[in-house]
Subunit: 297 residues, 2 copies
Protein backbone atom coordinates (compact mmCIF):
# COMPACT_ATOMS: atom_id res chain seq x y z
CA UNK A 1 0.00 0.00 0.00
CA UNK A 2 1.34 3.44 -0.89
CA UNK A 3 1.41 6.29 1.51
CA UNK A 4 -1.13 8.31 -0.50
CA UNK A 5 -4.41 7.03 0.98
CA UNK A 6 -2.83 6.78 4.44
CA UNK A 7 -1.55 10.35 4.37
CA UNK A 8 -4.99 11.44 3.21
CA UNK A 9 -6.66 9.53 6.03
CA UNK A 10 -4.26 10.95 8.63
CA UNK A 11 -4.82 14.45 7.37
CA UNK A 12 -8.62 13.99 7.29
CA UNK A 13 -8.46 12.66 10.86
CA UNK A 14 -6.56 15.70 11.98
CA UNK A 15 -9.07 18.10 10.43
CA UNK A 16 -12.06 16.23 11.83
CA UNK A 17 -10.66 16.03 15.37
CA UNK A 18 -9.78 19.72 15.34
CA UNK A 19 -13.34 20.49 14.28
CA UNK A 20 -14.61 18.64 17.38
CA UNK A 21 -12.19 20.38 19.74
CA UNK A 22 -12.49 23.91 18.35
CA UNK A 23 -15.88 24.81 19.94
CA UNK A 24 -15.08 22.83 23.11
CA UNK A 25 -11.95 24.95 23.54
CA UNK A 26 -13.67 28.30 22.96
CA UNK A 27 -11.70 31.12 24.58
CA UNK A 28 -13.53 32.30 27.74
CA UNK A 29 -13.90 36.03 28.43
CA UNK A 30 -11.99 36.22 31.76
CA UNK A 31 -8.25 36.17 32.52
CA UNK A 32 -8.41 32.37 32.50
CA UNK A 33 -8.34 32.74 28.70
CA UNK A 34 -4.57 32.31 28.91
CA UNK A 35 -4.76 28.67 29.91
CA UNK A 36 -7.23 27.91 27.11
CA UNK A 37 -4.94 29.64 24.62
CA UNK A 38 -2.12 27.36 25.79
CA UNK A 39 -4.38 24.30 25.46
CA UNK A 40 -5.27 25.36 21.91
CA UNK A 41 -1.62 26.04 21.09
CA UNK A 42 -0.82 22.44 22.00
CA UNK A 43 -3.87 20.74 20.54
CA UNK A 44 -3.89 22.62 17.22
CA UNK A 45 -0.18 22.35 16.54
CA UNK A 46 -0.26 19.58 13.99
CA UNK A 47 1.21 16.29 15.07
CA UNK A 48 0.66 12.98 13.36
CA UNK A 49 -2.68 12.27 15.07
CA UNK A 50 -1.73 8.60 15.25
CA UNK A 51 -3.97 7.90 18.24
CA UNK A 52 -7.09 9.58 16.80
CA UNK A 53 -6.41 7.74 13.56
CA UNK A 54 -6.33 4.40 15.38
CA UNK A 55 -9.63 5.23 17.08
CA UNK A 56 -11.33 6.07 13.79
CA UNK A 57 -9.82 3.13 11.92
CA UNK A 58 -10.81 0.61 14.59
CA UNK A 59 -14.29 2.18 14.92
CA UNK A 60 -14.82 1.65 11.20
CA UNK A 61 -14.31 -2.09 11.62
CA UNK A 62 -17.43 -2.24 13.81
CA UNK A 63 -19.65 0.31 12.07
CA UNK A 64 -19.41 2.77 14.94
CA UNK A 65 -20.95 6.20 14.27
CA UNK A 66 -18.20 8.51 13.12
CA UNK A 67 -19.42 11.33 15.37
CA UNK A 68 -18.94 9.08 18.40
CA UNK A 69 -15.51 7.92 17.32
CA UNK A 70 -14.42 11.50 16.72
CA UNK A 71 -15.25 12.49 20.29
CA UNK A 72 -13.25 9.56 21.66
CA UNK A 73 -10.40 10.48 19.32
CA UNK A 74 -10.54 14.07 20.59
CA UNK A 75 -10.43 12.92 24.22
CA UNK A 76 -7.41 10.70 23.61
CA UNK A 77 -5.63 13.51 21.75
CA UNK A 78 -6.22 15.77 24.79
CA UNK A 79 -4.46 13.20 26.97
CA UNK A 80 -1.64 12.81 24.45
CA UNK A 81 -1.12 16.59 24.21
CA UNK A 82 -1.16 16.99 28.00
CA UNK A 83 1.54 14.32 28.28
CA UNK A 84 3.71 16.14 25.72
CA UNK A 85 3.29 19.49 27.52
CA UNK A 86 4.26 18.05 30.90
CA UNK A 87 7.07 15.84 29.53
CA UNK A 88 8.63 18.90 27.86
CA UNK A 89 8.79 20.90 31.14
CA UNK A 90 12.21 21.92 32.47
CA UNK A 91 11.82 19.60 35.48
CA UNK A 92 11.11 16.66 33.13
CA UNK A 93 12.75 16.29 29.68
CA UNK A 94 13.43 20.04 29.36
CA UNK A 95 12.64 20.46 25.67
CA UNK A 96 12.41 23.82 23.91
CA UNK A 97 11.10 22.56 20.60
CA UNK A 98 8.14 20.35 19.69
CA UNK A 99 6.80 19.79 16.19
CA UNK A 100 9.16 22.54 15.02
CA UNK A 101 7.63 25.16 17.36
CA UNK A 102 8.51 26.41 20.86
CA UNK A 103 7.13 24.08 23.52
CA UNK A 104 4.19 25.38 25.58
CA UNK A 105 6.29 26.54 28.53
CA UNK A 106 8.52 28.43 26.11
CA UNK A 107 5.64 30.02 24.18
CA UNK A 108 3.77 30.84 27.43
CA UNK A 109 5.43 30.10 30.78
CA UNK A 110 5.91 27.11 33.07
CA UNK A 111 2.89 27.73 35.29
CA UNK A 112 0.59 28.10 32.29
CA UNK A 113 2.05 24.93 30.74
CA UNK A 114 1.43 22.92 33.91
CA UNK A 115 -2.15 24.22 34.10
CA UNK A 116 -2.83 23.67 30.39
CA UNK A 117 -1.77 20.05 30.77
CA UNK A 118 -3.89 19.65 33.88
CA UNK A 119 -6.98 21.10 32.22
CA UNK A 120 -6.57 18.82 29.19
CA UNK A 121 -6.83 15.76 31.45
CA UNK A 122 -10.11 16.92 33.00
CA UNK A 123 -11.40 17.87 29.56
CA UNK A 124 -10.69 14.40 28.16
CA UNK A 125 -12.86 12.76 30.81
CA UNK A 126 -15.57 15.40 30.48
CA UNK A 127 -15.77 14.63 26.76
CA UNK A 128 -15.92 10.85 27.27
CA UNK A 129 -18.62 10.99 29.94
CA UNK A 130 -20.89 13.23 27.88
CA UNK A 131 -24.10 11.81 26.36
CA UNK A 132 -22.93 12.86 22.89
CA UNK A 133 -20.04 10.37 22.99
CA UNK A 134 -22.11 7.18 22.96
CA UNK A 135 -25.72 6.19 23.53
CA UNK A 136 -24.75 3.28 25.81
CA UNK A 137 -23.78 4.53 29.31
CA UNK A 138 -21.75 1.37 29.96
CA UNK A 139 -19.63 2.08 26.90
CA UNK A 140 -18.94 5.62 28.12
CA UNK A 141 -18.00 4.30 31.55
CA UNK A 142 -15.67 1.67 30.11
CA UNK A 143 -13.99 4.35 28.02
CA UNK A 144 -13.50 6.57 31.09
CA UNK A 145 -12.20 3.71 33.19
CA UNK A 146 -9.76 2.41 30.60
CA UNK A 147 -8.47 5.83 29.61
CA UNK A 148 -7.95 6.68 33.28
CA UNK A 149 -6.07 3.43 33.82
CA UNK A 150 -3.97 3.81 30.67
CA UNK A 151 -2.99 7.39 31.54
CA UNK A 152 -2.34 6.98 35.28
CA UNK A 153 0.37 5.48 37.45
CA UNK A 154 -0.22 1.98 36.04
CA UNK A 155 0.22 3.36 32.52
CA UNK A 156 1.56 6.54 30.98
CA UNK A 157 2.54 8.41 34.15
CA UNK A 158 4.18 5.30 35.61
CA UNK A 159 6.12 4.87 32.37
CA UNK A 160 7.37 8.44 32.44
CA UNK A 161 8.45 7.93 36.06
CA UNK A 162 10.48 4.88 35.00
CA UNK A 163 11.89 6.79 32.03
CA UNK A 164 13.14 9.57 34.31
CA UNK A 165 14.70 7.06 36.68
CA UNK A 166 16.30 5.30 33.69
CA UNK A 167 18.50 8.35 33.30
CA UNK A 168 20.07 7.37 36.58
CA UNK A 169 20.27 3.62 36.25
CA UNK A 170 20.54 1.14 33.40
CA UNK A 171 17.56 -0.91 32.27
CA UNK A 172 17.72 -4.21 30.41
CA UNK A 173 15.66 -5.05 27.34
CA UNK A 174 12.73 -6.49 29.29
CA UNK A 175 12.58 -3.42 31.53
CA UNK A 176 12.67 -1.09 28.52
CA UNK A 177 9.82 -3.03 26.92
CA UNK A 178 7.80 -2.64 30.08
CA UNK A 179 8.62 1.07 30.29
CA UNK A 180 7.45 1.61 26.72
CA UNK A 181 4.31 -0.46 27.16
CA UNK A 182 3.40 1.85 29.99
CA UNK A 183 4.66 5.19 28.71
CA UNK A 184 3.32 5.10 25.15
CA UNK A 185 1.92 1.60 24.62
CA UNK A 186 -1.01 1.85 27.01
CA UNK A 187 -2.53 4.87 25.28
CA UNK A 188 -1.89 3.49 21.79
CA UNK A 189 -3.49 0.17 22.77
CA UNK A 190 -6.49 1.95 24.25
CA UNK A 191 -6.87 3.98 21.05
CA UNK A 192 -6.99 0.87 18.89
CA UNK A 193 -9.26 -0.96 21.31
CA UNK A 194 -11.71 1.92 21.69
CA UNK A 195 -13.41 1.17 18.38
CA UNK A 196 -14.09 -2.35 19.62
CA UNK A 197 -15.49 -0.98 22.89
CA UNK A 198 -17.79 1.44 21.07
CA UNK A 199 -18.86 -1.28 18.66
CA UNK A 200 -19.60 -3.85 21.38
CA UNK A 201 -17.12 -6.17 19.66
CA UNK A 202 -16.37 -9.66 20.97
CA UNK A 203 -13.35 -10.67 23.00
CA UNK A 204 -11.50 -12.07 20.01
CA UNK A 205 -11.69 -8.84 18.04
CA UNK A 206 -10.64 -6.83 21.09
CA UNK A 207 -7.67 -9.08 21.74
CA UNK A 208 -6.63 -8.84 18.08
CA UNK A 209 -6.69 -5.04 18.17
CA UNK A 210 -4.91 -5.00 21.50
CA UNK A 211 -2.14 -7.23 20.15
CA UNK A 212 -1.91 -5.17 16.99
CA UNK A 213 -1.58 -1.96 18.99
CA UNK A 214 0.98 -3.42 21.39
CA UNK A 215 3.32 -4.42 18.58
CA UNK A 216 2.63 -1.22 16.66
CA UNK A 217 3.43 0.87 19.73
CA UNK A 218 6.76 -0.87 20.26
CA UNK A 219 7.65 -0.48 16.57
CA UNK A 220 6.74 3.19 16.78
CA UNK A 221 8.91 3.67 19.84
CA UNK A 222 11.92 2.07 18.17
CA UNK A 223 11.35 4.32 15.16
CA UNK A 224 11.27 7.30 17.55
CA UNK A 225 14.53 6.22 19.14
CA UNK A 226 16.12 5.74 15.71
CA UNK A 227 15.05 9.26 14.73
CA UNK A 228 16.61 10.56 17.93
CA UNK A 229 19.90 8.88 16.92
CA UNK A 230 19.84 9.50 13.18
CA UNK A 231 17.53 12.42 12.47
CA UNK A 232 18.36 16.11 12.38
CA UNK A 233 16.36 18.59 14.48
CA UNK A 234 15.12 20.20 11.24
CA UNK A 235 13.66 16.92 10.00
CA UNK A 236 12.26 15.74 13.30
CA UNK A 237 10.98 19.09 14.59
CA UNK A 238 12.56 18.67 18.01
CA UNK A 239 16.00 18.31 19.55
CA UNK A 240 17.74 15.01 18.70
CA UNK A 241 20.54 13.04 20.33
CA UNK A 242 18.88 13.72 23.67
CA UNK A 243 18.58 10.12 24.85
CA UNK A 244 22.31 9.46 24.55
CA UNK A 245 23.16 12.81 26.14
CA UNK A 246 20.89 12.03 29.08
CA UNK A 247 22.36 8.54 29.41
CA UNK A 248 18.89 7.07 28.80
CA UNK A 249 18.63 3.37 28.18
CA UNK A 250 16.83 2.73 24.87
CA UNK A 251 16.45 -0.39 22.75
CA UNK A 252 18.53 1.28 20.04
CA UNK A 253 21.27 1.96 22.57
CA UNK A 254 21.20 -1.64 23.81
CA UNK A 255 20.83 -3.41 20.45
CA UNK A 256 22.54 -1.05 18.05
CA UNK A 257 20.87 0.64 15.07
CA UNK A 258 20.80 -2.38 12.76
CA UNK A 259 19.26 -4.88 15.17
CA UNK A 260 16.77 -2.29 16.36
CA UNK A 261 15.68 -1.59 12.81
CA UNK A 262 15.25 -5.33 12.20
CA UNK A 263 13.18 -5.67 15.34
CA UNK A 264 10.93 -2.83 14.23
CA UNK A 265 10.29 -4.70 10.98
CA UNK A 266 9.48 -7.91 12.87
CA UNK A 267 7.11 -6.04 15.18
CA UNK A 268 5.37 -4.43 12.22
CA UNK A 269 4.83 -7.81 10.59
CA UNK A 270 3.51 -9.17 13.89
CA UNK A 271 1.18 -6.21 14.27
CA UNK A 272 -0.25 -6.81 10.82
CA UNK A 273 -0.62 -10.56 11.48
CA UNK A 274 -2.97 -9.74 14.38
CA UNK A 275 -5.36 -8.20 11.85
CA UNK A 276 -5.92 -11.43 9.89
CA UNK A 277 -9.51 -11.79 11.14
CA UNK A 278 -10.46 -8.46 9.57
CA UNK A 279 -11.10 -7.93 5.87
CA UNK A 280 -9.98 -5.08 3.62
CA UNK A 281 -11.58 -2.63 5.99
CA UNK A 282 -8.43 -3.03 8.10
CA UNK A 283 -6.19 -1.90 5.22
CA UNK A 284 -5.54 1.52 6.78
CA UNK A 285 -4.51 -0.16 10.04
CA UNK A 286 -2.08 -2.27 8.00
CA UNK A 287 -0.81 0.81 6.19
CA UNK A 288 -0.18 2.73 9.39
CA UNK A 289 1.98 -0.12 10.65
CA UNK A 290 4.23 0.20 7.60
CA UNK A 291 4.27 3.95 8.03
CA UNK A 292 5.42 3.50 11.63
CA UNK A 293 8.84 2.28 10.61
CA UNK A 294 9.31 4.29 7.43
CA UNK A 295 8.48 7.75 8.77
CA UNK A 296 11.10 10.47 8.95
CA UNK A 297 9.35 12.68 11.51
Amino acid sequence: MQSGPLQEALSATSTAVERVLDPILAIPPGPEARVVEAMRYSVFSGGKRLRPFLVLASAELFDVERAHALRVAAAIECIHCYSLIHDDLPAMDDDDLRRGKPTVHKAFDEATAILAGDALVSLAFEILADDATHSDPFVRLELVRKLAHASGHHGMVGGQMIDLSAERMGLDEAAIHRLQQMKTGALISFSAESGAIMGHAGKQARAALHGYARDLGLAFQIADDLLDVEGSPEEVGKATGKDADAGKATLVGLMGVERARQQAVVLTDQAIAHLSMFDERASLLRAVAHFAINRRT
Copy 2:
Protein backbone atom coordinates in the same frame (compact mmCIF):
# COMPACT_ATOMS: atom_id res chain seq x y z
CA MET B 1 -23.18 23.09 68.35
CA GLN B 2 -19.81 22.43 69.93
CA SER B 3 -16.77 21.35 67.99
CA GLY B 4 -16.61 17.92 69.66
CA PRO B 5 -18.94 15.92 67.40
CA LEU B 6 -17.70 17.81 64.35
CA GLN B 7 -14.05 17.11 65.11
CA GLU B 8 -14.98 13.48 65.65
CA ALA B 9 -16.84 13.36 62.34
CA LEU B 10 -13.94 15.01 60.50
CA SER B 11 -11.47 12.60 62.02
CA ALA B 12 -13.68 9.58 61.25
CA THR B 13 -14.00 10.83 57.66
CA SER B 14 -10.25 11.04 57.35
CA THR B 15 -9.71 7.50 58.61
CA ALA B 16 -12.44 6.07 56.39
CA VAL B 17 -11.21 7.80 53.23
CA GLU B 18 -7.65 6.68 53.89
CA ARG B 19 -8.90 3.11 54.26
CA VAL B 20 -10.43 3.34 50.76
CA LEU B 21 -7.32 4.82 49.20
CA ASP B 22 -4.73 2.61 50.91
CA PRO B 23 -5.23 -0.53 48.76
CA ILE B 24 -5.89 1.53 45.61
CA LEU B 25 -2.50 3.18 46.10
CA ALA B 26 -0.58 -0.06 46.71
CA ILE B 27 3.12 0.41 45.89
CA PRO B 28 3.92 -1.35 42.59
CA PRO B 29 7.07 -3.45 42.30
CA GLY B 30 8.85 -1.53 39.49
CA PRO B 31 10.74 1.79 39.54
CA GLU B 32 7.39 3.58 39.05
CA ALA B 33 6.94 2.97 42.79
CA ARG B 34 8.41 6.42 43.33
CA VAL B 35 5.41 8.23 41.87
CA VAL B 36 3.01 6.17 43.99
CA GLU B 37 5.06 6.96 47.09
CA ALA B 38 4.70 10.65 46.27
CA MET B 39 0.94 10.22 45.75
CA ARG B 40 0.68 8.50 49.12
CA TYR B 41 2.81 11.18 50.78
CA SER B 42 0.32 13.79 49.64
CA VAL B 43 -2.90 11.84 50.20
CA PHE B 44 -1.99 10.49 53.64
CA SER B 45 -0.59 13.73 55.04
CA GLY B 46 -3.55 14.74 57.18
CA GLY B 47 -5.43 17.78 56.02
CA LYS B 48 -8.89 18.77 57.15
CA ARG B 49 -10.72 16.47 54.70
CA LEU B 50 -13.37 19.15 54.30
CA ARG B 51 -14.42 17.95 50.85
CA PRO B 52 -14.75 14.26 51.81
CA PHE B 53 -16.68 15.37 54.87
CA LEU B 54 -19.12 17.35 52.71
CA VAL B 55 -19.61 14.31 50.48
CA LEU B 56 -20.39 12.04 53.42
CA ALA B 57 -22.59 14.57 55.20
CA SER B 58 -24.65 15.31 52.09
CA ALA B 59 -24.88 11.60 51.23
CA GLU B 60 -26.36 10.94 54.67
CA LEU B 61 -29.23 13.31 53.91
CA PHE B 62 -30.37 10.99 51.13
CA ASP B 63 -29.61 7.61 52.65
CA VAL B 64 -26.80 6.91 50.23
CA GLU B 65 -24.73 3.80 50.96
CA ARG B 66 -21.68 4.85 52.93
CA ALA B 67 -19.37 2.66 50.83
CA HIS B 68 -20.46 4.56 47.72
CA ALA B 69 -20.06 7.96 49.35
CA LEU B 70 -16.58 7.02 50.60
CA ARG B 71 -15.39 6.24 47.07
CA VAL B 72 -16.66 9.58 45.80
CA ALA B 73 -15.03 11.29 48.77
CA ALA B 74 -11.75 9.51 47.96
CA ALA B 75 -11.93 10.62 44.31
CA ILE B 76 -12.51 14.25 45.26
CA GLU B 77 -9.67 14.13 47.78
CA CYS B 78 -7.37 12.86 44.99
CA ILE B 79 -8.30 15.92 42.93
CA HIS B 80 -7.81 18.23 45.91
CA CYS B 81 -4.38 16.74 46.71
CA TYR B 82 -3.28 16.96 43.08
CA SER B 83 -4.21 20.65 43.04
CA LEU B 84 -2.16 21.28 46.19
CA ILE B 85 0.88 19.44 44.77
CA HIS B 86 0.81 21.41 41.52
CA ASP B 87 -0.03 24.76 43.16
CA ASP B 88 2.98 24.36 45.47
CA LEU B 89 5.43 23.88 42.58
CA PRO B 90 8.22 26.46 42.13
CA ALA B 91 6.67 27.65 38.85
CA MET B 92 3.33 28.25 40.63
CA ASP B 93 3.08 29.42 44.26
CA ASP B 94 6.55 28.09 45.18
CA ASP B 95 5.75 26.75 48.63
CA ASP B 96 8.17 24.64 50.68
CA LEU B 97 5.77 23.76 53.47
CA ARG B 98 2.29 22.24 53.48
CA ARG B 99 0.45 20.94 56.53
CA GLY B 100 3.69 21.42 58.48
CA LYS B 101 5.67 19.08 56.21
CA PRO B 102 7.88 19.64 53.16
CA THR B 103 5.79 19.95 49.99
CA VAL B 104 5.93 17.03 47.55
CA HIS B 105 8.53 18.61 45.24
CA LYS B 106 10.71 19.26 48.30
CA ALA B 107 10.30 15.76 49.77
CA PHE B 108 10.80 14.14 46.33
CA ASP B 109 11.63 16.34 43.34
CA GLU B 110 9.79 18.53 40.86
CA ALA B 111 9.36 15.91 38.15
CA THR B 112 7.95 13.39 40.62
CA ALA B 113 5.60 16.05 42.04
CA ILE B 114 4.25 16.91 38.59
CA LEU B 115 3.72 13.21 37.82
CA ALA B 116 2.14 12.45 41.21
CA GLY B 117 -0.38 15.24 40.63
CA ASP B 118 -1.07 14.00 37.12
CA ALA B 119 -1.63 10.42 38.26
CA LEU B 120 -4.03 11.55 41.01
CA VAL B 121 -6.29 13.14 38.38
CA SER B 122 -6.53 9.94 36.34
CA LEU B 123 -7.04 7.95 39.52
CA ALA B 124 -9.97 10.14 40.61
CA PHE B 125 -11.85 9.42 37.39
CA GLU B 126 -10.94 5.74 37.47
CA ILE B 127 -12.47 5.50 40.94
CA LEU B 128 -15.66 7.34 39.96
CA ALA B 129 -16.26 5.29 36.81
CA ASP B 130 -15.84 1.97 38.60
CA ASP B 131 -18.91 -0.24 39.25
CA ALA B 132 -18.17 -0.20 42.98
CA THR B 133 -18.91 3.53 43.19
CA HIS B 134 -22.63 3.36 42.42
CA SER B 135 -25.07 0.84 40.97
CA ASP B 136 -26.63 3.40 38.61
CA PRO B 137 -24.37 4.03 35.59
CA PHE B 138 -26.00 7.43 34.98
CA VAL B 139 -25.00 8.52 38.49
CA ARG B 140 -21.40 7.47 37.87
CA LEU B 141 -21.37 9.36 34.57
CA GLU B 142 -22.82 12.50 36.13
CA LEU B 143 -20.15 12.34 38.85
CA VAL B 144 -17.39 12.02 36.24
CA ARG B 145 -18.79 14.83 34.11
CA LYS B 146 -19.29 17.25 36.99
CA LEU B 147 -15.94 16.52 38.63
CA ALA B 148 -14.22 16.97 35.27
CA HIS B 149 -15.99 20.28 34.75
CA ALA B 150 -15.32 21.50 38.30
CA SER B 151 -11.62 20.65 38.09
CA GLY B 152 -10.88 21.87 34.55
CA HIS B 153 -10.42 25.20 32.83
CA HIS B 154 -13.99 26.29 33.64
CA GLY B 155 -13.34 25.54 37.31
CA MET B 156 -10.29 24.90 39.48
CA VAL B 157 -7.57 25.18 36.84
CA GLY B 158 -9.16 28.33 35.39
CA GLY B 159 -9.29 29.83 38.89
CA GLN B 160 -5.62 29.10 39.50
CA MET B 161 -4.79 30.73 36.15
CA ILE B 162 -6.66 33.87 37.23
CA ASP B 163 -4.98 33.75 40.64
CA LEU B 164 -1.53 33.69 39.03
CA SER B 165 -2.45 36.57 36.74
CA ALA B 166 -3.83 38.46 39.77
CA GLU B 167 -0.26 38.75 41.00
CA ARG B 168 0.37 41.00 38.06
CA MET B 169 -2.83 43.01 37.90
CA GLY B 170 -5.43 44.17 40.39
CA LEU B 171 -8.84 42.50 40.63
CA ASP B 172 -11.99 44.07 42.05
CA GLU B 173 -14.33 42.36 44.51
CA ALA B 174 -16.52 40.79 41.83
CA ALA B 175 -13.50 39.41 40.02
CA ILE B 176 -12.09 37.95 43.24
CA HIS B 177 -15.43 36.29 43.96
CA ARG B 178 -15.40 34.75 40.50
CA LEU B 179 -11.78 33.60 40.95
CA GLN B 180 -12.63 31.91 44.24
CA GLN B 181 -15.79 30.32 42.91
CA MET B 182 -13.64 28.73 40.23
CA LYS B 183 -10.45 27.96 42.16
CA THR B 184 -11.92 26.43 45.31
CA GLY B 185 -15.70 26.92 45.12
CA ALA B 186 -16.35 24.59 42.22
CA LEU B 187 -14.85 21.55 43.95
CA ILE B 188 -16.46 22.37 47.30
CA SER B 189 -19.86 22.78 45.62
CA PHE B 190 -19.44 19.51 43.77
CA SER B 191 -18.56 17.78 47.04
CA ALA B 192 -21.72 18.97 48.75
CA GLU B 193 -23.85 18.25 45.68
CA SER B 194 -22.47 14.75 45.16
CA GLY B 195 -24.61 13.28 47.93
CA ALA B 196 -27.70 14.61 46.16
CA ILE B 197 -26.51 13.13 42.86
CA MET B 198 -25.88 9.72 44.45
CA GLY B 199 -29.25 9.87 46.23
CA HIS B 200 -31.23 10.85 43.12
CA ALA B 201 -32.38 13.94 45.03
CA GLY B 202 -34.74 16.47 43.47
CA LYS B 203 -33.77 19.80 41.99
CA GLN B 204 -34.70 21.74 45.12
CA ALA B 205 -32.42 19.73 47.39
CA ARG B 206 -29.59 19.97 44.91
CA ALA B 207 -29.98 23.72 44.61
CA ALA B 208 -30.03 24.06 48.39
CA LEU B 209 -26.80 22.11 48.77
CA HIS B 210 -25.21 24.00 45.90
CA GLY B 211 -26.10 27.33 47.51
CA TYR B 212 -24.88 26.12 50.89
CA ALA B 213 -21.57 25.03 49.42
CA ARG B 214 -21.11 28.24 47.43
CA ASP B 215 -21.44 30.42 50.53
CA LEU B 216 -19.43 28.00 52.64
CA GLY B 217 -16.63 27.99 50.07
CA LEU B 218 -16.42 31.78 50.04
CA ALA B 219 -16.44 31.91 53.86
CA PHE B 220 -13.69 29.30 53.92
CA GLN B 221 -11.61 31.29 51.47
CA ILE B 222 -11.92 34.47 53.50
CA ALA B 223 -10.88 32.50 56.60
CA ASP B 224 -7.88 31.22 54.62
CA ASP B 225 -6.93 34.74 53.61
CA LEU B 226 -7.31 35.92 57.22
CA LEU B 227 -5.00 33.12 58.38
CA ASP B 228 -2.49 34.20 55.76
CA VAL B 229 -2.58 37.71 57.21
CA GLU B 230 -2.88 36.90 60.91
CA GLY B 231 -1.60 33.37 61.47
CA SER B 232 1.93 32.22 62.18
CA PRO B 233 3.55 29.52 60.03
CA GLU B 234 3.65 27.27 63.10
CA GLU B 235 -0.11 27.50 63.60
CA VAL B 236 -1.08 27.29 59.95
CA GLY B 237 1.45 24.67 58.85
CA LYS B 238 2.55 26.63 55.79
CA ALA B 239 4.19 29.96 54.98
CA THR B 240 2.01 32.99 55.77
CA GLY B 241 1.99 36.57 54.53
CA LYS B 242 2.50 35.22 51.03
CA ASP B 243 -0.47 36.91 49.38
CA ALA B 244 0.67 40.39 50.36
CA ASP B 245 4.28 39.61 49.42
CA ALA B 246 3.13 38.43 46.00
CA GLY B 247 0.91 41.48 45.55
CA LYS B 248 -2.11 39.18 45.26
CA ALA B 249 -5.54 40.74 45.33
CA THR B 250 -7.63 39.14 48.11
CA LEU B 251 -10.92 40.15 49.71
CA VAL B 252 -9.07 40.76 52.98
CA GLY B 253 -6.66 43.05 51.16
CA LEU B 254 -9.51 44.96 49.50
CA MET B 255 -11.91 45.14 52.48
CA GLY B 256 -9.58 45.12 55.43
CA VAL B 257 -9.54 42.48 58.17
CA GLU B 258 -12.65 43.67 60.02
CA ARG B 259 -15.02 43.90 57.07
CA ALA B 260 -13.72 40.61 55.72
CA ARG B 261 -14.39 38.90 59.03
CA GLN B 262 -17.93 40.34 59.06
CA GLN B 263 -18.54 39.12 55.55
CA ALA B 264 -17.39 35.64 56.51
CA VAL B 265 -19.98 35.62 59.29
CA VAL B 266 -22.72 36.77 56.88
CA LEU B 267 -21.73 34.08 54.40
CA THR B 268 -21.80 31.42 57.11
CA ASP B 269 -25.31 32.46 58.16
CA GLN B 270 -26.40 32.41 54.52
CA ALA B 271 -24.87 28.97 54.03
CA ILE B 272 -26.80 27.63 57.01
CA ALA B 273 -30.03 29.28 55.84
CA HIS B 274 -29.84 27.20 52.64
CA LEU B 275 -30.18 24.07 54.79
CA SER B 276 -33.62 24.97 56.18
CA MET B 277 -35.37 22.23 54.19
CA PHE B 278 -33.28 19.57 55.92
CA ASP B 279 -33.89 18.31 59.46
CA GLU B 280 -31.40 17.58 62.21
CA ARG B 281 -29.56 15.24 59.88
CA ALA B 282 -27.98 18.40 58.45
CA SER B 283 -26.55 19.40 61.81
CA LEU B 284 -23.00 18.43 60.87
CA LEU B 285 -23.27 20.54 57.72
CA ARG B 286 -24.35 23.44 59.93
CA ALA B 287 -21.49 22.76 62.34
CA VAL B 288 -18.87 22.73 59.59
CA ALA B 289 -20.04 26.16 58.48
CA HIS B 290 -19.34 27.55 61.94
CA PHE B 291 -16.02 25.75 61.98
CA ALA B 292 -15.11 27.39 58.68
CA ILE B 293 -14.76 30.82 60.23
CA ASN B 294 -13.46 29.83 63.65
CA ARG B 295 -10.64 27.54 62.62
CA ARG B 296 -7.02 28.44 63.31
CA THR B 297 -5.44 26.13 60.73
